[in-house]
């Protein structure tokens, strides 16, 4: 791979210091904030998993109590879904979408900062209680009535209900922002069917967020009202039906699965063509299958609930829909393989992770199709078989894809390479560790080991499999530590990278690494799906129909011809107006979190203090919001 000798130099005008990070509205800096915060929570969630696995290493251990165990598995799930994988995806949305579509920032830069701060503060809100032994303990799915006032009366599930409400605000605000950005800020000539596949998958994900999160918001409000105001939504003695919670939760929860996996699909769809030095196979079908997955994702939720007895008609419909959704997913797998077929392959760490995703996700996908059949699912539901399935999908799939993305984009973000040697160690330890952890769970599950139990008796045939799983988890810890070391060391002393270190085809590689704050000195005119290859390796794209170039697209007055930018000047020199840094989005986010904290005070029985907190937080939020809306962006 090509490396330039020039060490990246930062503009003298570039801001630094903590204040500049709290007030930043630059999508790249916000992306970096997301990345660091989510990696921190990855450590938290990973340590929770480590404790869970240590407790289960052998029969009848008492490393942690049953109550602590409940908190650990609840927080492991909640942390990994809402505080790790979604925000890691958000880190890439933030960093990459504007660069990939040729924009200077997102549509609403301050709303973007707001999304981050709501996430960061909401994450603290939901994470801190574990240090006081009052963390959520009703599972990441929060099934009523366990999460309701009768059976979950402590503070524990309060933090979960309120915390998820807060995090939902962050995701929704970000989704409106990215939908607008992708629709409206594409460079001239960047038609939808020329967008890089990562941007395509992100686009689909934003719609899933916009449509799925309101449903969990409603369900959480019901639970919140049951807990705080004595309503009857999930109260059986008043005629309420706990299944309502399950249905609403999974109407959200199943699209959420695709919210977690599609960005990783997008990332490997960037990595694989780059290192195969060959265009993505079946681009159109890849885009359409992403849309199909998103659309069908709203019609399969009840396959999480076959065990509740919905009757043969509902079971059949959801079973067939679930089998159907395997098709567009399978199409993606085959297209990735076909992308590599006949390519001139290179195997840097990012490529290894991308191929790892294909293999591991296929295993998780196949066990997923097994569950789509209700009779088969009844044998597997609530056993470790399910745990094995979704960890292959989410760890083997989503996390491997994200690691591929980190290794691939690290040179763009920092101007330096991550160490390939350490990366290889991480990849192989990770690969072995993940299979050692999760593959035996298929067996312990089929032998009947239920999920969520804090210990078990010897002699049921589960002992060896559990010990293997625990050993694998420690390997994953070692792999994680190597990654952390590699990440922080390479940031400071990695080999310098040029603007296009991998010879990749898309727009983000046409500007310096790290990109200047304005991204593109001149917005390029896009005439192809692989503009950088058209410039540098036209033979790769010659035979392939990959663009809809027509006369109307060419020579837009707003754009410069496609080119590679190497010069680094300040926005001021170029006369590009930049948004002002501002603290206001942070203040609005703070007001929201204070307002929600008032509900916890209410549960303590301190009514006046609770009202004061909620009103104070609410007024502070509204005042900050008005200050934000009445001050100019740039």
């Amino acid at each position: 791979m090509e490396t330039s000798s020039a060490i990246p130099t930062h503009d003298a005008s570039e801001q630094s210091g903590i204040w500049s990070w709290i007030t930043t509205v630059d999508h790249k800096r916000i992306g970096i904030l997301y990345l660091y915060t989510a990696l921190f929570y990855l450590l938290v969630g990973g340590l929770e998993a480590l404790l869970i696995r240590t407790q289960l290493a052998k029969p009848n251990l008492s490393v942690v109590s049953a109550e602590t165990y409940n908190q650990l598995f609840t927080m492991h799930g909640t942390t990994m879904v809402f505080l790790v994988v979604m925000p890691l995806s958000a880190a890439f949305f933030n960093y990459l979408i504007p660069l990939q579509i040729g924009a200077r920032d997102v549509a609403f830069p301050r709303l973007n900062a707001f999304s981050y701060w709501v996430y960061a503060l909401g994450g603290l809100f939901i994470t801190l209680p574990i240090f006081f032994g009052i963390a959520p303990n009703g599972g990441w799915f929060g099934y009523a009535p366990l999460s309701g006032p009768t059976f979950g009366g402590g503070f524990n599930m309060d933090f979960w209900v309120l915390g998820l409400q807060i995090l939902g605000i962050s995701s929704l605000a970000a989704a409106f922002n990215f939908i607008t950005t992708i629709i409206n800020l594409r460079a001239p000539g960047m038609t939808l069917m020329r967008m890089p596949m990562f941007t395509w998958m992100s686009f689909v994900v934003q719609f899933l967020v916009v449509l799925a999160f309101p449903v969990i918001t409603a369900a959480l409000f019901f639970l919140q009202f049951d807990r705080f105001f004595g309503t009857n939504f999930y109260e059986v003695q008043a005629g309420g039906d706990p299944l309502l919670w399950q249905h609403l939760f999974w109407v959200f929860g199943h699209p959420e699965v695709y919210i977690l996996i599609l960005p990783a699909f997008g990332l490997v769809s960037e990595v694989l063509p780059t290192h195969s030095r060959k265009p993505l196979f079946g681009y159109n079908v890849m885009a359409y299958s992403g849309i199909m997955i998103g659309f069908l994702g709203f019609g399969v939720w009840a396959h999480h609930m076959f065990a509740v007895g919905m009757g043969p008609v509902a079971d059949s419909i959801f079973s067939v829909a679930t089998m159907l959704i395997g098709l567009p997913t399978g199409v993606k797998i085959f297209n990735w393989i076909a992308t590599m077929y006949g390519g001139s392959l290179r195997f840097p760490v990012s490529m290894k992770f991308a191929i790892g995703l294909i293999a591991m996700f296929t295993i998780g996908g196949i066990s997923g199709v097994m569950h789509s059949s209700p009779p088969s699912d009844l044998q597997q539901t609530d056993t470790y078989f399910i745990v094995a399935h979704f960890h292959y999908v989410l760890y083997g799939g989503a996390m491997m894809g994200i690691f591929a993305g980190i290794y691939h984009y690290f040179p763009k973000i920092t101007g330096r390479f991550m160490s390939e040697r350490l990366g290889n160690w991480q990849f192989w330890l990770n690969f072995i560790g993940l299979n050692l952890t999760f593959f035996p769970m298929h067996f312990s599950g089929m032998l009947g080991m239920p999920r969520r139990i804090y210990t078990y008796d010897a002699g049921q045939g589960w002992d060896l499999f559990n010990l293997m799983s625990t050993a694998g988890t420690y390997l994953l810890l070692v792999a994680g530590l190597i990654f952390a070391y590699n990440f922080f060391k390479s940031r400071v002393s990695g080999a310098p990278a040029s603007s296009d270190p991998w010879g990749a085809p898309t727009l983000e590689w046409s500007i310096p690494s790290p990109p200047p704050d304005y991204n593109f000195a001149q917005i390029p005119e896009v005439t192809s799906r692989y503009p950088m290859w058209d410039l540098k390796a036209p033979d790769r794209t010659a035979g392939i129909e990959h663009s809809h170039a027509d006369a109307a697209d060419i020579a837009d007055a707003h754009a410069a011809p496609m080119h590679e930018e190497t010069e680094r000047r300040t926005a001021k020199e170029l006369g590009i107006p930049m948004p002002f840094n501002t603290i206001k989005p942070f203040l609005v986010a703070l007001g929201i979190v204070v307002m929600f904290s008032g509900m916890i005070v209410l549960h303590m029985g301190k009514f006046p203090l609770a009202m004061a907190t909620m009103l104070g937080g609410g007024v502070f939020m509204v005042a900050s919001l008005y200050a934000w809306l009445t001050s100019p962006l740039e």
């Binding site: 629709i183 038609t191 939808l192 449509l211 039906d241 299944l243 109407v251 709203f298 919905m310 509902a314």
Partner: protein, 106 residues
């Protein structure tokens, strides 16, 4: 692509004052018929009652969205952004009515 510049010139065709008032009159009249129907016990008991009320409600809904929210005159992108979620919300609602036995097959 259909969501690009081609349709930008559509954005400023709004309905006129006169249309607005006609729309308001229709909304008013349909509401009167709805409430009136509520007070005819024989009609309430008939199988036509629910469909008739749902239809009137749907007409009011469509009229407000098309004229007052000028979706009929605006960029087709907005139509997609609204109708897509409406379809998913409607389908989910209907699925819930079946799943909870409020509506049964056969």
């Amino acid at each position: 692509m259909s969501i690009d510049r081609a349709h930008a010139d559509h954005t400023h065709e709004h309905p006129t004052w006169k249309q607005y008032k006609w729309v308001a009159l229709w909304l008013f009249l349909i509401t009167i018929v709805e409430v009136w129907a509520y007070y005819i016990p024989a009609f309430v008991a008939s199988p036509a009652f629910k469909p008739a009320l749902l239809l009137m409600s749907a007409i009011k809904f469509a009229v407000v969205v098309m004229y007052y929210m000028h979706l009929k005159f605006d960029h087709p992108l907005f139509r997609k952004l609204f109708i897509g979620p409406m379809i998913i919300a409607g389908a989910t609602l209907i699925a819930f009515l079946f799943l909870f036995g409020n509506v049964r097959i056969g």
